[in-house]
């Protein structure tokens, strides 16, 4: 029993492993005794586990459903695990689900999404980070005013902007092109990203910037050689936010592109929103999961950096 306890609580084990002292200590000594199932721990882990269930439930349902056949879905309830696992829905969602006449599932949209996301993320982050840098380190008259406008802009529903943006894109001749869409993502990503970058750069020691200026480095040299190498955490945050946002975007993707460049979400919408006919829930769920896969993978890879980056960029007002 005692051994079990020790194995259960490593803190205790370390302490007791030390050789017994020559002078025996009577009464309480060493670390405070801790019960593993103290009320506090039960409360903390209980709450966390309960909440985790709430968060995991939809994922579970999606995964389970996507692995069932349609008859099983009609009969059983959504929480029961699949009796017979089938990957048919996944294959269908990926490669054979139809939208109108195009029956190549999400696969086509996937590459479109990649081609939209990569330049959009790159450009929006580049511009926002330069903005943030200019705002934090090269304050000039009026800069804060533009910045305020930008932040207020973050609150404008996108729908309101659809029309003016169509006009702007038409006027500069980018309407319907990939670059038009990239521009739109850059514009609408700018408020929050600029805010993040500005706060981050402002939290870096100002002396570093001054030292570089004394060394003769100009605006761009300082940005590229001094600031960028120090900004990994905030770039991770920005990349996560933008990849998530742009990858999941539906509205801009559908309004500002053509059918052969529709992103994955449009395909997803087509698959799940086929109003007439029987809903293939399993295919829908598989398509849903497939669409969310890229941002999810990025999250799992960079979760720790994300929190650190947020701490760096968001907290310092």
């Amino acid at each position: 029993m005692a051994e079990q306890l020790l194995r259960a609580a490593p803190e205790l084990a370390v302490a007791s492993a030390m050789p017994a002292r020559a002078r025996a200590l009577s009464g309480p000594h060493g670390p405070r005794p801790r019960r593993r199932f103290s009320r506090r721990n039960v409360f903390i882990y209980g709450t966390l586990a309960l909440v985790a269930v709430y968060y995991l439930l939809p994922l579970y349902v999606m995964v389970v459903t996507s692995l069932k056949g349609m008859p099983e879905i009609r009969l059983g309830n959504i929480f029961s695990p699949p009796v017979e696992i089938t990957f048919e829905p996944w294959i269908k969602a990926w490669s054979t689900a139809c939208t109108g006449l195009n029956c190549d599932g999400l696969s086509r949209g996937f590459w479109n999404s990649v081609m939209i996301t990569v330049p959009s993320v790159f450009l929006s982050i580049s511009i926002a980070s330069i903005n943030g840098y200019a705002l934090a380190n090269w304050r000039f008259k009026g800069a804060e005013v533009f910045f305020t406008v930008l932040v207020v802009g973050a609150f404008i529903p996108y729908q309101v902007m659809l029309y003016p943006v169509v006009i702007v894109l038409r006027e500069i001749g980018l309407y319907g092109s990939l670059w038009g869409l990239v521009l739109v993502h850059t514009i609408f990503g700018m408020p929050i990203l600029t805010l993040l970058f500005r706060n981050y750069f402002a939290s870096l020691p100002e002396e570093l910037f001054k030292a570089a200026r004394v060394d003769g480095a100009g605006f761009w040299t300082i940005y590229l050689r001094i600031m960028l190498p120090m900004s990994l955490p905030i770039f991770v945050v920005a990349i996560i936010l933008q990849v998530t946002g742009i990858w999941n975007d539906f509205l801009f993707g559908v309004v500002y592109t053509k059918p052969d460049t529709y992103p994955m979400t449009v395909q997803l919408n087509n698959i799940v929103n086929a109003v007439q006919g029987v809903k293939e829930y399993n295919v829908n769920m598989a398509a849903t999961l497939l669409t969310g896969l890229v941002p999810l993978v990025i999250y799992f890879i960079s979760g720790k950096l994300f929190v650190r980056g947020i701490a760096a960029g968001a907290v310092k007002g």
Binding site: V266, N269, V275
Partner: protein, 388 residues
């Protein structure tokens, strides 16, 4: 020439129908580039408008004909097909005439109607009435009378999905059926507000009130879920367009035996002639323009019409084609069409703005039990008065 065609036909049957159009078009030596967007006009329309006003128009695009595209036409963004229509004699074979009227503005023809969809149907589950121990009703009044029996048997008398357009559809169907086509024409076409506020319409609102009571327990979102309630005998009936028939067919049910269809709610055997049409935004490339003409004539060719409408489950726009394969209910519809008991769809009579407002009203009416029929009628009359 490649021609991009946008539409929102993405379900199985619809896609198959579109494939027919594409096949026929490809046969002319051009190529159909499919630009399907699922999720009905709400999602597709801003894209189309955006593309057209943004200066990057598609080759052709689906629109509900009627007044939706009016301004685009007025702004000179749409192609005029009068010449082609005269050459091919569209006016001669398109039946009913009202279909082409919807495409006509200032005497010029701007669109190509491809099918007719009718909404005025009440679908009944024979099993449900058998379970409740009452006879299958022959008209709306019998249906209302049978409702308590259904309720007692634990059956929802009337299934209505919660999406806004379904409740509006139900109301309009009731209106046409109970008040008759003249009233419909006067109210929606001539915007006769006095009539809208009058006794005739009060009857309609009372009926709608009954409908909403009967549908109180139908807890479904989508129309096909409601239909499947009828199919399973969990609901007595559903007011829905002719496309519901596809569901019964998929479930292997037979008209007359397993289910019953009552056009015009069995009161006024009338159907509306709404439907889908294609518009052709102006193109700068003459090659594309030629392809557009080819597409327009292909869409109206008899062979395409038959092939397309059989797949789509709708009625052809040509009076001169023969549909042998049609089932009972469809034949009922063809008969009515032949008799000329037709009315135009509200879309053709009223601007989208007005239609939306009326939709909103009925959506609210069905959802909000506190809104009395009298108040609803008053608001209805106001909308009609303000509409253009």
């Amino acid at each position: 020439t490649d021609l991009e065609v946008t539409h929102w036909w993405t379900s199985g049957g619809e896609a198959a129908a579109v494939a027919e159009l594409a096949k026929a078009f490809d046969a002319t030596g051009n190529k159909w580039v499919d630009g399907a967007i699922a999720g009905s006009g709400d999602i597709a329309r801003p894209i189309m408008i955006g593309r057209i006003t943004g200066g990057d128009p598609m080759g052709a695009t689906q629109f509900n004909h009627g007044r939706q595209a009016e301004e685009l036409v007025q702004a000179g963004l749409m192609r005029d097909f009068t010449e082609l229509a005269q050459k091919e004699g569209w006016t001669k074979f398109i039946h009913p005439k009202s279909l082409l009227d919807g495409c006509t503005l200032d005497g010029k023809i701007y669109c190509v109607p491809v099918n007719i969809h009718s909404q005025q149907w009440l679908w009944l589950s024979n099993k449900a009435f058998a379970d409740a121990g009452v006879a299958v009703p022959k008209n709306w009044d019998e249906f209302v009378a049978a409702a308590p029996a259904l309720e007692k048997a634990g059956i929802v008398p009337l299934a209505i999905g919660q999406q806004p357009w379904q409740t509006t559809l139900a109301f309009q169907v009731i209106l046409v059926a109970l008040a008759g086509p003249e009233t419909f024409q006067k109210v929606f076409g001539d915007k006769d507000a006095t009539l809208a506020a009058g006794a005739e319409m009060a009857k309609v609102f009372a009926a709608a009130d009954q409908a909403r009571q009967m549908s109180a327990r139908s807890n479904v979102q989508e129309w096909n879920q409601a239909t499947s309630m009828v199919i399973n005998g969990k609901a007595g009936g559903q007011i829905m367009g002719d496309w519901a028939q596809g569901e019964f067919q998929v479930a292997g049910q037979v008209a007359g035996k397993d289910y019953t269809c009552l056009p015009g709610l069995g009161v006024n055997e009338i159907i509306s002639t709404g439907g889908d049409a294609f518009y052709f935004p102006k193109q700068t490339d003459p090659e594309k323009a030629k392809a557009q003409e080819a597409l327009a004539s292909v869409m109206l060719s008899p062979a395409t019409q038959v092939a397309f409408n059989l797949k789509k489950g709708s009625l052809p726009v040509r009076g001169d084609v023969d549909l042998n394969a049609a089932n009972d209910c469809m034949k009922k519809g063809l008969e009515i069409l032949a008799k000329g008991n037709i009315i135009p769809a509200p879309d053709q009579l009223m601007s989208a703005d007005g239609v939306t407002q009326i939709n909103d009203l009925f959506v609210e009416f069905f959802a909000n039990k506190e809104l009395s029929p009298q108040d609803a009628q008053k608001r209805f009359a106001e909308i009609i008065a303000a509409a253009d």
